[in-house]
Symmetry: C2
Subunit: 463 residues, 2 copies
Amino acid sequence: MRFRLLAALAVSLAASVSSAQTPDPIAAKYTADADRLIDAALRDSAAWNRLALLTDTFGHRLSGSQALENTIDWVLAEMKKDGLENVRGEAVKVPHWVRGEESLTLVSPRKASLPMLGLGLSIATPKQGITAPVMVVSSFADLTARAADAKGKIVLFDVPFTEYGQTVRYRGAGAVAAARVGAVAALVRSVTPMSLRTPHTGAMRYDSTVKKIPTAAVTVEDAMMLRRMIARGQRVVVTLKMSARMLPDAPSRNAIAELRGSELPDEVVIVSGHLDSWDVGQGAMDDGGGVVAAWEAVRLMKQLGLRPRRTVRVVAWTNEENGTAGGNGYRDAHRAELAKHVVAIESDEGVFKPRGVGFTGSDSATAIVKRVGALLTRINANGVVPGGGGADVGPMMALGVPGMSPDVDGSKYFWYHHTDADTMDKLDPHEMALCVATIAVMAYVIADLPEALPRSAAAASSP
Amino acid sequence: MRFRLLAALAVSLAASVSSAQTPDPIAAKYTADADRLIDAALRDSAAWNRLALLTDTFGHRLSGSQALENTIDWVLAEMKKDGLENVRGEAVKVPHWVRGEESLTLVSPRKASLPMLGLGLSIATPKQGITAPVMVVSSFADLTARAADAKGKIVLFDVPFTEYGQTVRYRGAGAVAAARVGAVAALVRSVTPMSLRTPHTGAMRYDSTVKKIPTAAVTVEDAMMLRRMIARGQRVVVTLKMSARMLPDAPSRNAIAELRGSELPDEVVIVSGHLDSWDVGQGAMDDGGGVVAAWEAVRLMKQLGLRPRRTVRVVAWTNEENGTAGGNGYRDAHRAELAKHVVAIESDEGVFKPRGVGFTGSDSATAIVKRVGALLTRINANGVVPGGGGADVGPMMALGVPGMSPDVDGSKYFWYHHTDADTMDKLDPHEMALCVATIAVMAYVIADLPEALPRSAAAASSP
């Protein structure tokens, strides 16, 4: 304890000495503006209230749904009311998957209805459902080792949550792996460390070389129960019924607005989140919060009369959850302009308490981002860690655009992710305001710096 | 830190000096037996495994259900296999409420299905449901103050969880209060500090002087959302459909077994929990765990050959949740013997980590219980706090029988209480084993002491 205190003191002393000796021009030029943005963001619960209005009014917003299109219409109208510029919906076609009625019934050793959610993009079962014995596996390797037992079974991937990447593989690829060894359906334990008998949906993928089988998520509780039953030597039989349908691709839009740059309007800083959600809960955390925080950041610049040299463009992406048609469509439509996209910020990890940002870009750009980040020290959001971006800005990042995202306390993110419990109350107005402040300061200052963020050392002065 | 360490050392030193000087005869006589019981309880996960088998096999067990009666049959058969004595079901009639199909639909300002659970003993709605505007109130006083607005409305009691007693009043008495001012139905925010869009059921009461209206629990999330909508000036309309029915009282049983006392078999120590549950989840925490822990305590005595002077009687109560017919029936059937009931132990607060016991009895009995409790010091379960017992032993406590209950870490109890999430995984095998040890040591030693626990100072030597 004492050592850490002294170390912290030393660091803090060194920092103040150093800044006293060589004041950072970024700090000198932007501290006042950053403070105005932070003060404005923290003044009230405007962002949270706007998000509550959005989610309460429209509910969940799956790609292809009327709710999503109604929300886009509303967002565009509100952006105009905010006085933002070049407000428009940029058309893309999105996958249109519809869940329909669905159920999972334990038939043996006793009769019970089990909470479940079909996985996004899954096919339906026959109308009478699929009734088959359950085989529980602990991993892909376990399935492979016991492949001969899988034929005609419903394979349940009962994999406890460790971290998202390790666990979500079974949601994404479980059906293909199970079908490959002759299973008739696949179930996956919900991808979460915390459950109140809560099923979590999410996207799955088929492989054109393997027969498609229907697939759904069960709760942590029921995965554990079915495993116990089988461990006792009981024959576990379930009936899975799903009526999911894939309809023709539907028209949708990325909702876009701008604060045009005063000097270099063709150079663009993107701030964004995705407006679509899964068809459960209200998509408050994933990702209504990200959209509204990014939008609010630009609204505050406008309100405070802070117009940067470059354009700040807010994008409410469509179709992040099951297709990324929004991000891909933007990349295609704006491909010629991407060289002048200075940074693409996406908030899609929940508007929880921010520690700073994640950033993906050159070392020289990272150094600049850290100096900008220092403007967020008063709200303890000055951290800059490697790895920023998001699924929607991914396509443009693949073409060289630096990516950034708020780095937030995600400790409860997977409690609510893709569930009926993704609702407003999971978000705190002050924490959301801190995210708004973080995005606003980063976007405004980067959009106003004398030089664009360098994409590489070589290209430092001409992005 | 240092001060507390020294203080703790001093206390520990004082305790060992004092015990070295005047060894407690209870410690001297029972430490070895208590240690054997504790060791046996902690040796494996037998209690947890038996509870898992029970809940996995039978699921939830509402009074009147075949599942409850099947469970009672199984428990009685298992008690016989354990070699317990005088195994029998003691008949009582229990209320037979059946939930049926039910739903709550938000009709305006947008259409959505809201998770809900009808409250136990509620009447049904008409077949087409009740469609009416919602009025949100914050308390009974708020309802009274705005009574003129309630006529024809569905009143929602949106009362955040503080502690159970304060909040559950609205579940129990909300319908009567709402009906009294002309409401057509009552909704109550679920009684919980933690929700993943999780409705909590539980019993409600009607008053014969007030018109009966149907009543149900909504989730914390939706209560907050409906309040926000109304605060925005929106007219909120919902359709409540419930088909709940009250059938004629059904036959049920308290499942009872004994370890007969070696010297004073007519003097009885009760160890107990209730076997019935609500018709959601699996009633693992509430209260399968209590039943099995109490039963396991007696099984361990039997297995270890520890037969106390008095009888230890395990009771798996029926109908705690909606009637207490088990506890009342036992009191009536055994009224003449209650003077010789030395203590009635009930575990119904979840078999979480125990700190010791709660005890309701005379000061002189409390002093003895504390000396017995000291035998649980090695598992940190030696605390004795005022107030022990439970709903099922309540009727005999009202006639003077001392009451006791494990005092456990209940910090998550109301996360799961009366929900679909009351399942095995919420209980930890080691914590459950600690509860078994606590009950076993308390019951065994109190049943074997030279003198029965004194009911009052005056009656100290002749209970």
